[in-house]
């Protein structure tokens, strides 16, 4: 294996162990709770941070806690070398707020709210929201079943010029 790979791995591991408390460090294979993961500056200002943790978490309690392996999975999905397929798959899962396998109106609304920020002055009015969601469904819901499924999503994403370059997190 090459040097730079190890450097990346070490830096990832360092960042990860910084999140652990002292007594946790001795335990093998421990899980960092979501609240502490979210304090990472790279994730701090991301509106999808909680979703990202939930998607990559393998915790059985569904609390979004990440082990080091999960953390590496996260980084690899957001790395430069991940393919469009991987990236779009995870993007879909991140946007699928209720984990039901499709993006329905509720998911899209939550997504818009995430994108426009928490403050009220940037929020869209219900009328605008309705219009926006209708437009999106009109474009990407190819089979007209009222939801966007994974293949439709990937179809849309694959043509986007700047998805791959923006779906990245660098430690």
């Amino acid at each position: 294996m090459s040097m730079s790979f190890f450097i990346h791995l070490f830096s990832a591991h360092k960042r990860f162990t910084e999140l652990l408390t002292k007594d946790e460090k001795d335990l093998p294979n421990n899980r960092v709770p979501m609240e502490r993961i979210l304090t990472l500056p790279e994730l701090k200002s991301n509106p999808f941070r909680k979703r990202i943790c939930n998607v990559f978490s393998t915790s059985e309690y569904k609390d979004g806690g990440l082990t080091f392996e999960d953390f590496l999975d996260l980084l690899s999905a957001f790395s430069d070398s991940a393919t469009l397929e991987i990236k779009s798959h995870y993007a879909f899962r991140i946007f699928d707020f209720d984990d039901d396998g499709t993006l329905d109106c509720g998911d899209l609304e939550k997504l818009v709210n995430c994108l426009t920020g928490e403050t009220d002055d940037t929020r869209l009015t219900p009328e605008e929201m309705r219009q926006l969601i209708n437009n999106i469904l009109e474009e990407s819901d190819i089979d007209k079943d009222g939801t966007v499924n994974l293949s439709e999503f990937q179809h849309v994403i694959s043509r986007s010029p700047d998805f791959v370059s923006s779906f990245k997190i660098v430690l």
């Binding site: 701090k44 509106p47 393998t58 995430c114 929020r123 089979d143 010029p161 998805f163 660098v170």
Partner: protein
């Protein structure tokens, strides 16, 4: 005879799959089979009691099996001897058994072990979803020992049996076909038996087996290759990878034979090494890319668009680096090392009049004095054909480097454009406008809360604008007002452009007047007027355009493009007025040159006269090169102008950066603590750099470099220094828009340079081309003197218009052809897209219809099944009750069932049908017994019967 052989084989296969009852479809064996069935039931009971105990009957059965095994193990040899032998075996069956009891026991225990093994293997298999192929293979193996499977019957073995049954059927058919086929399939069976004891022996594999193995291996390889693209967790990936790699290693080696295997291992090793090397090399390459980590850092703070500016900058820097290497290595260094040293000839010496101030900083800063008479400028170079011990062709090298610079730049820009076009693909397609905004607008790299807030705001505005736009496109009102405003805005912009152009022209003319008067009499401002005016115009006009564009009410993206286009026009206009003014100056200089030329001849004549008259008395005077009168050398002047322009441009950039951004930011941040309103959010705030201004600046700068590089070889070097420090925070999508601008600028900036090279004769006393009529004559000169005669002949005939014109015509035709094909490709693309869409819709409709139909069928089936299920339950009741006491019986019955489902003996349909068929549903894991038994099993039976019929007929 053939039929008998087939019958025998059939028995073998049936035993192999543990389904002896299959045999009973043959008329002659019918009775015996029944008999055996009964016997077996009894035997099962005994077995239950005695464990491994053996009775005569059981032994006979086992014996028969053992016989069969033996027969197979001994391969075809015995069978080949005589078919009558086989016949006898087949017939005798039950009787020829007694002596083999012991060995049969051994065989049985071995089989048990095997069975255990296969079951374990199967459990492992379940974890791995991706290897259906392998599973099939193992299943095939398994059905050799399938007989024991019946002892533990569950849903799993049920499916296994089904599969085995299918495979068996296939084989059965095969057997019937030809006798040679029989042999091979017999062999196959053999090996399946063998392969459980040893590893795969490639020599024993049939081509068919090899084929499936190869397929499996290929499948695994594909899996390994595509593994990186699978959205799985790392753990799963690792497990799958390891398993498939093991599989591939194990079996791929087996595919080659003997030498091939060694070669294969070697090949594998080499590919592994090569892969490792490639990966290392990739890493090395990334480590070598300058500023990669810094750009990553910037990226993680300010998002990818800011980073893309820096990537553009880096790209530009790379180009300049190469241009610099070209000029430095092939022009400047050879001249400095091998050319005549400073002070030996007039063109390499500071004139006497300028000498006292030649070292002053102000003069050097203006690139006069010693700087002017150095390798930095055109005038310093000598017209000596070959210099130094290397016989370096200096003038030729100078010319070729000048041409090469431009050619390389064209190549790089066009190549990058093509690559960008490839990457963006169908980038312009607007069909997913909203979805892209929704799904891809967040930049996950943003880690800075302030940037994130800005992003939220910008996304909101983007959404709102998009919605508004959508609404407006539906009802387009007040078109006249917007049209009027747009025309007005363009008019204003044109006025600005014309004004700035005139201003520059005016200033340049004035500076020429000043220059004639002598620079010393004027202030600093008057001397640097031209550059300052140009820089200031470049600074303020874009702001003005920004204000004007507010009138137009364009969509932001369109507005940005207009804005960029206008700035582009402004810069270009300024540059061209500058060049036109320069051309005027060049003409002036050339007139001056003629005067100087005349003066020099008179001066030389007078010198000659003096020396001639005093010849007898004194030695000839040696004239200092500094005293020789010389021409104005317009080339150096042009070079100087460009260098000054670049310097002043850099200065203004820094000053605006310092005042406009840095000081403002400092003031805003620190005064904010003691100010009456919020400075950060309110009026001054932090400077918002205009989006693409910086990229444009870069591009224009590059244009100036290209323009002036021929006359001032130092320009690329200067640009390197400049780019290195001008790390301004600005954003741009490095898309083809900028590259197109760069290309246009490149073209436009090479135009004047080429014009001057081609049309204006070089100065008579400076530069590498002095003494020639035109600069490009150097090529002809080289051709004539350095190449054999035939070469120049060929060259001249090749440049004859009769050849050149057809060639150009051909190129035009090729361009036309390529263009039309690309157009048709585009159309095909659109068509395909449409087709895909309609197909998608159709598929969906079809699926929905099918689902609906299936549901209806189900409903009907349920209705129909409910009475029959009742009926079946009644039938079931009795065997179920008995099952508790008589497990063996039940088991055998189930076996019956599974066999029946595959191939119900047609002739039995009369009497026993209800009894055998009744329990069928219980084999299905479905909850609803009635309908499950009803629905899927019936078609299956039909299918099975259809399979049977042809085979029966052949018998």
């Amino acid at each position: 005879m053939a039929m008998l052989i087939a019958t025998w084989k059939h028995c073998v296969y049936v035993f192999a799959t543990g389904l002896e009852d299959e045999v009973d479809t043959f008329q002659e064996e019918h009775e015996r089979e029944r008999h055996r069935g009964k016997r077996r039931d009894g035997e099962r009971a005994k077995k239950k009691k005695r464990g491994n105990g053996e009775g005569r009957k059981r032994a006979s059965r086992a014996g028969r099996e053992e016989e069969k095994l033996q027969a197979r193990r001994e391969k075809k040899g015995r069978r080949k001897k005589s078919s009558s032998d086989q016949q006898a075996e087949g017939r005798e069956g039950d009787e020829a058994d007694q002596p083999t009891t012991k060995s049969s026991k051994a065989a049985k225990t071995r089989k048990n072990v095997k069975n255990e093994k296969t079951r374990k293997v199967e459990k492992e298999e379940k974890e791995d979803e991706a290897d259906d192929e392998e599973r099939n293979r193992k299943r095939k193996k398994k059905h050799g020992s399938n007989k024991k499977e019946e002892n533990v019957e569950d849903g799993n073995t049920h499916t296994v049996k089904e599969k085995a049954g299918e495979v068996k059927k296939k084989k059965h058919k095969k057997v019937v076909e030809t006798s040679s086929e029989k042999e091979t399939s017999e062999e196959e069976d053999n090996e399946e038996e063998d392969s459980e004891e040893k590893e795969v022996r490639p020599e024993t594999l049939t081509p068919e087996e090899l084929e499936t193995l190869k397929e499996a291996v290929d499948e695994r390889k594909k899996l390994i290759q595509g593994l990186r693209g699978k959205p799985w967790a790392m753990k799963k990936k690792l497990v799958t990878l390891r398993e498939s790699q093991e599989f591939v290693e194990k079996y791929e080696g087996a595919l080659g034979k003997g030498k091939g295997r060694k070669l294969y291992a070697y090949k594998i090793m080499m590919t592994k090494k090569w892969m490792k090397f490639k990966r290392d090399f990739e890493n090395f390459k990334t480590a070598c890319i300058p500023w990669e980590m810094k750009i990553k850092e910037i990226e993680s703070h300010f998002g990818s668009s800011v980073a893309s500016y820096f990537i553009f900058l880096r790209w530009m820097y790379g180009i300049n680096m190469i241009l610099f290497c070209l000029t430095f290595g092939l022009v400047m260094v050879p001249e400095a090392l091998m050319g005549r040293p400073y002070g030996t000839i007039p063109r390499k010496t500071v004139p006497r009049a300028e000498a006292p101030s030649a070292m002053d900083f102000a003069v050097l800063w203006d690139f006069g004095g010693y700087a002017q008479y150095s390798v930095l400028f055109y005038g310093y170079y000598n017209n000596q054909r070959a210099i130094g011990w290397l016989k370096f062709r200096m003038p030729l090298s100078y010319f070729l480097v000048g041409v090469g610079t431009v050619a390389y730049s064209y190549m790089v820009v066009i190549r990058t454009m093509a690559r960008n076009a490839n990457e963006s693909g169908v980038g312009d397609d607007n069909s997913f406008n909203f979805s892209w905004k929704m799904f891809t607008s967040w930049d996950y790299l943003i880690g800075n809360p302030e940037t994130a807030d800005n992003k939220f705001a910008s996304i909101t505005t983007i959404f709102k604008e998009a919605i508004l736009e959508e609404q407006e496109s539906r009802k387009d009102d007040n078109i006249h007002l917007t049209r009027f405003l747009r025309v007005l805005a363009n008019f204003l912009v044109l006025c600005c452009l014309a004004g700035s152009g005139y201003l520059i022209y005016f200033v340049v003319r004035r500076s020429q007047k000043f220059a004639l008067d002598g620079l010393e009499n004027h202030t600093w401002w008057e001397r640097n007027e031209v550059n300052m005016v140009m820089s200031l115009l470049g600074m303020f006009c874009p702001m003005l355009f920004d204000v004007i564009s507010a009138l137009e009410n364009y969509h932001p993206r369109v507005a940005l493009q207009w804005q960029l286009g206008r700035i582009f026009a402004l810069f270009l206009g300024n540059l061209y007025t500058f060049i036109i003014a320069l051309m005027d100056e060049i003409n002036l200089k050339r007139e001056e040159e003629n005067i100087v030329k005349f003066n020099i001849t008179t001066w030389e004549a007078s010198l000659y006269n003096i020396s001639a008259s005093e010849n007898s008395t004194s030695p000839p005077v040696t004239i200092q090169p500094a005293d020789v009168p010389r021409g104005p050398c317009w080339e150096t002047m042009v070079g100087q102008e460009f260098v000054r322009l670049i310097i002043s441009d850099t200065m203004t950039t820094y000053i605006t950066l310092l005042i406009g951004d840095f000081l403002r930011a400092v003031l805003v941040r620190f005064l904010n603590y003691c100010w009456c309103w919020d400075l950060e959010a309110g009026f001054p705030s932090y400077s918002e750099f205009d989006v693409s201004g910086n990229v444009l600046g870069l591009i224009f700068n590059q244009g100036m470099i290209w323009m002036g590089a021929f006359y001032a070889p130092c320009l690329p070097a200067l640009n390197l220094l400049r780019l290195h420090v001008s790390m301004v925070f600005k954003a741009s999508g490095s898309n083809n828009f900028y590259m197109a601008m760069l290309l246009v600028i490149l073209f436009l900036s090479t135009l004047p340079a080429i014009y001057t090279i081609v049309t204006i004769p070089p100065s008579f006393d400076c530069g590498p081309f002095s003494g020639k009529k035109r600069m490009f004559d150097v090529i002809q000169e080289t051709l004539e003197s350095d190449f054999p005669a035939w070469f120049s002949k060929v060259f001249s005939s090749a440049s004859n218009p009769g050849l050149v014109l057809p060639f150009i015509l051909l190129m035009v035709l090729a361009i036309y052809y390529l263009q039309s094909t690309s157009k048709s490709y585009k159309e095909a693309n659109v068509d395909l897209k449409k087709k895909l869409q309609t197909q998608n819709e159709e598929n969906k409709k079809k699926n929905k219809l099918a689902a609906l139909k299936a549901q209806m069928d189900l409903e009907e089936a349920r209705k129909a099944a409910s009475p029959s299920a009742e009926h079946q339950k009644n039938n079931n009741a009795s065997p179920d009750q008995e099952a508790d006491e008589e497990e063996d019986r039940d088991r055998s019955q189930r076996m019956y069932r599974s066999k029946n489902r595959r191939s119900p003996p047609p002739h039995r349909h009369d009497g026993q049908l209800p009894a055998t068929r009744a329990p069928v549903p219980r084999n299905y894991p479905h909850g609803n017994q009635g309908f499950a038994g009803y629905l899927p099993s019936f078609p299956r039976e039909n299918e099975a019967r259809m399979h049977r019929v042809p085979s029966l007929q052949r018998h």
